[in-house]
């Protein structure tokens, strides 16, 4: 049970305080309700580029990192398709340094031309390192474009193409800040050996006079229900054929979420999972395979991806995946598999909760979903899932017409490495 207090400042900033007396550190987590899904299609990758610019100095503080390091702190940030999260860990004596830094960049950035110019290049190198200069690096670009026709999940967080990042202008940066970075769109979580009353005073001091800004109301185009299976084949200079399949599932708060999560546990989690045992070990069709879901806030997807054993026809490999899913739909899962999944999830939660930063991050995330206390009720929801429900949800998800298949094939004349 994770205990916490919650209050809201007059300007709309939501604040969560979690007490843990056992640690000499505090975690300060600021989550902004903006992700790649809030970008315009002709200007993607912006939420993430913007995250880099948040470290380029704010209106009253020229350098973000230096004062924090001086205070013995470490920090980082990440952007997803749903939100952007900034976090700091530092000795509890120096907590005010963290609040000073975070409040100033919520107030306003320095908007330096030099910082934009450098970070454009840095992000382009990040793009190349992870998505271009790597075999199968662009697979997710194709998977997303095939799976989502309408919803902004059709592009990756890093962006659709390099040129979108290269063309970003300072005016765009300013407009983005004004639209998304204000107390109404943020959640602050402080965790550590702290007293809520003392934190209230400090947060009021540093964040209290930041103007509320305007509440951003998200109006994203919904992904239409898919009724026809879609397929795509691409070839590239890779050593092995690979298969990617996706199916649409509900959103994060959908009633079927927990059952869908259990489906991926049974099918793809660990070396005793069904797909690993049947497709990698027994039939030797894949050299590796995974089955997982994206866990996104808006309707997400279940993904099966794997690399094929040399010489196996991709049609045969795909048929075996389909057969495994057919068995799931026809026979469901056993009580033992259900139990095992619950055990795994219980253990995962316990290990995650050991980490102070993870707790601070999760509290902010569940508050974004609607209520930080969901962090404490999640396991109960898993415990209520029945095998019958899993079967029903599986039939719904893996129904004809709901799938997308990408064959990622090697060029037949690909050169032999080394």
């Amino acid at each position: 049970m994770i205990q916490f207090d919650k209050f809201t400042l007059a300007n709309g900033l939501r604040v969560i305080v979690h007490k843990d007396e056992t640690t000499p550190m505090v975690a300060v987590n600021v989550l902004y309700d903006v992700g790649a899904r809030d970008e315009e299609e002709h200007r993607t990758g912006f939420a993430h580029l913007f995250e880099h610019l948040m470290f380029g100095g704010s209106v009253n503080i020229p350098e973000y990192d230096e004062p924090l390091q001086m205070a013995g702190g470490e920090n980082n940030a990440y952007t997803t398709n749903d939100f952007t999260n900034y976090y700091i860990q530092l000795p509890k004596e120096n907590i005010e340094t963290a609040l000073w830094l975070e409040s100033d960049r919520m107030l306003s950035l320095a908007f330096s031309e030099k910082s934009l110019e450098v970070q454009r290049k840095v992000v382009c190198e990040e793009f190349k390192e992870h998505y271009i200069n790597k075999p199968y690096g662009d697979a997710w670009k194709h998977v997303r474009e095939l799976t989502y026709t309408t919803h902004p999940y059709k592009w990756m967080t890093i962006g659709k193409e390099l040129s979108h990042i290269e063309e970003a202008q300072l005016e765009d940066v300013k407009a983005f800040f004004k639209k998304h970075y204000n107390p109404l769109n943020a959640i602050l979580c402080v965790a550590g050996d702290v007293e809520t009353e003392a934190i209230k005073v400090l947060v009021e001091k540093w964040f209290g006079n930041i103007p509320s800004g305007e509440k951003y109301t998200r109006q994203l185009p919904a992904e239409p229900v898919q009724t026809e299976d879609r397929r795509k084949t691409i070839t590239a200079d890779v050593p092995l054929n690979a298969l990617y399949k996706t199916w649409h599932i509900g959103n994060r708060l959908d009633n079927q979420y927990h059952a869908a999560d259990i489906i991926t546990e049974v099918m793809g989690s660990g070396q005793s999972s069904r797909m690993y045992q049947e497709l990698v070990k027994e039939q030797r069709l894949f050299s590796n395979i995974s089955c997982y879901h994206t866990g996104s806030i808006d309707p997400g997807i279940i993904v099966v991806e794997g690399k094929l054993v040399e010489g196996v026809a991709i049609e045969d490999a795909e048929a075996a995946v389909d057969a495994a899913l057919k068995t799931l739909q026809d026979k469901g899962i056993t009580e033992e598999e259900l139990h095992k999944s619950i055990n795994r999830l219980e253990s995962m939660v316990a290990f995650e909760d050991m980490n102070l930063l993870a707790r601070a991050n999760n509290l902010a995330f569940y508050e974004l979903l609607g209520d930080a206390d969901m962090m404490n009720t999640e396991m109960t929801k898993y415990a209520l899932v029945t095998a019958a429900e899993v079967k029903e949800v599986a039939r719904e998800i893996f129904r004809p017409g709901n799938s997308n298949t990408l064959h990622y094939l090697k060029q037949s004349n690909a050169p032999v490495a080394e």
């Binding site: 056992t22 640690t23 000499p24 550190m25 009253n60 503080i61 990192d65 390091q69 001086m70 205070a71 013995g72 702190g73 470490e74 860990q89 000795p91 004596e93 120096n94 005010e96 340094t97 000073w100 409040s103 100033d104 107030l107 450098v118 290049k121 840095v122 382009c124 190198e125 190349k128 271009i132 200069n133 075999p135 199968y136 006079n209 890779v238 050593p239 070396q271 005793s272 045992q277 990698v280 070990k281 030797r284 050299s287 590796n288 690399k307 054993v309 040399e310 033992e336 139990h339 095992k340 055990n343 795994r344 219980e346 253990s347 316990a350 290990f351 909760d353 050991m354 490495a417 080394e418």
Partner: protein
């Protein structure tokens, strides 16, 4: 009116006290040392079995890692599936791996499940049989993984730079080729397992929220008999000497369509047991060891050549090296190398600012304070000390070095260790 330009007062981390929570040692009847440490609020536990069964000990390339990878793929009584099922049913994970010096088997579980799990782990560690069929699947998949990795410039660069510094014949410089994987067999793995995964070669570390009965259970399962120990069998390990490559600069063209290059600049370095190592670690932090380092400030934050560039000190059991590593745009790789050397020269020619040194100290010590939280990370500190034959005194000595080192000393160390002509230099596109 709040003046935001004035930073809040801070407490310097150098003024803090650093206590490493003690870890207990119990010896089993069969003499296996068990280091244990209780703590944490969640009912979770981590148990590691560490064997001197790394690449250093292997009789032929790729054996140590294959043995670790296949350890839980079958015993005389249970198939790979049944073993994995027995662990995963309880939401536990059992990771097996081998690095240059050690093989480790690590169990993460809820403490309440230990009675069901420990007998299975015992069976896996002591009675693995490496079935031929499992070895064949492993070989096929390892070859496929290798083929994918060889397309990546960072993977190729890492193989070569190790070979330059230590020599291709040395365990730390050796790398796996297709024929090494093909040469693996059930017999070779069984032999390696029988020689090195033994009670006489094992150290156990247990941390987390567990009670005395759990500890007794661990000793019951692992500490009573001399499992796998063969009377009179002395394990002899060849001595290796490093043979650095005589040529210092290399360029490798691995991918004609590559848009980035992997840059590696490395040299042999003093070992972590050397009295100067802790000081050198501070010098390395200034140079390239954290986000605000000279290398990052210049090559990422000023020039935008890369997503990240780091310099690290890598200390194995027998030898150590210093390595600067980055992936940079293909057309700016050469410039990146030149800038790295320029930064070395700057560190040698002028002392760093005393404010900067204070920042580094606070940053380093703040990080250590964060590490002293939670039973697993405290045990990780202890493991590093114990496996390197160091003690709590070394921990305290290092802390006092981090607190007391001067800008002059940093410059002296830069002069001694940051000479461009002593570094290997490699770009793989």
């Amino acid at each position: 009116m709040l003046n935001r330009t004035i930073p809040p007062a801070i407490h310097d981390a150098i003024s803090f006290n650093f206590e490493l929570k003690p870890c207990q040692l119990t010896r089993c009847l069969n003499q296996i040392p068990v280091y244990w440490l209780q703590g944490g609020t969640q009912e979770v536990v981590e148990v590691s079995w560490v064997f001197k069964a790394g690449i250093w000990q292997e009789p032929q390339t790729a054996v140590a890692q294959a043995t670790a990878a296949l350890l839980k793929n079958g015993t005389a009584h249970k198939s790979a599936f049944r073993l994995n099922e027995a662990i995963e049913y309880y939401g536990a994970s059992l990771k097996t791996s081998a690095n240059n010096d050690f093989a480790s088997v690590t169990l993460h579980a809820l403490s309440k499940h230990l009675p069901m799990l420990l007998p299975v782990v015992r069976e896996i560690i002591a009675e693995a049989i490496f079935p031929e069929e499992e070895v064949n699947i492993y070989k096929q998949n390892a070859l496929q993984r290798l083929a994918v990795n060889l397309r990546q410039c960072d993977f190729v660069a890492n193989r070569h730079i190790d070979a330059f510094v230590f020599g291709r014949q040395h365990p730390y410089g050796r790398f796996t080729e297709q024929e090494n994987v093909e040469a693996l067999s059930s017999a070779v793995l069984n032999d390696f397992h029988k020689r090195f995964y033994t009670a006489a070669n094992c150290t156990i570390f247990m941390s987390g929220n567990f009670d005395e009965s759990n500890l007794e259970l661990l000793k019951d399962n692992f500490g009573k008999d001399q499992w796998n120990v063969q009377a009179g069998a002395e394990v002899s390990i060849p001595l290796y000497t490093k043979m650095p490559d005589p040529q210092l600069k290399y360029r490798i063209n691995n991918d004609p369509n590559g848009v980035q290059g992997a840059v590696r600049i490395a040299r042999p370095f003093i070992h972590r047991t050397d009295p100067k190592f802790a000081e050198a670690l501070v010098m390395n932090t200034v140079f390239g060891g954290y986000f605000g380092s000279h290398l990052m400030a210049n090559i990422r934050e000023d020039k935008g050549f890369t997503y990240g560039i780091y310099s690290s000190l890598i200390s194995y059991q027998q030898e150590a090296m210093m390595m600067i590593a980055t992936e940079a745009g293909k057309d700016v790789c050469e410039q990146t190398v030149a800038e790295v050397y320029k930064e070395m020269k700057i560190m040698q020619e002028q002392p760093i600012d005393s404010e900067e040194l204070l920042l580094i100290k606070n940053y380093l010590l703040g990080g250590i304070l964060g590490d002293l939280e939670g039973p697993f990370s405290i045990m990780q500190r202890w493991k590093n000390l114990i496996l390197n034959d160091q003690t709590i005194d070394d921990f305290h000595r290092n802390i006092s070095i981090y607190k007391g080192i001067t800008v002059e000393r940093i410059q002296e160390l830069a002069t001694e260790y940051l000479n461009p002509e002593q570094f290997y230099e490699l770009i793989v596109v």
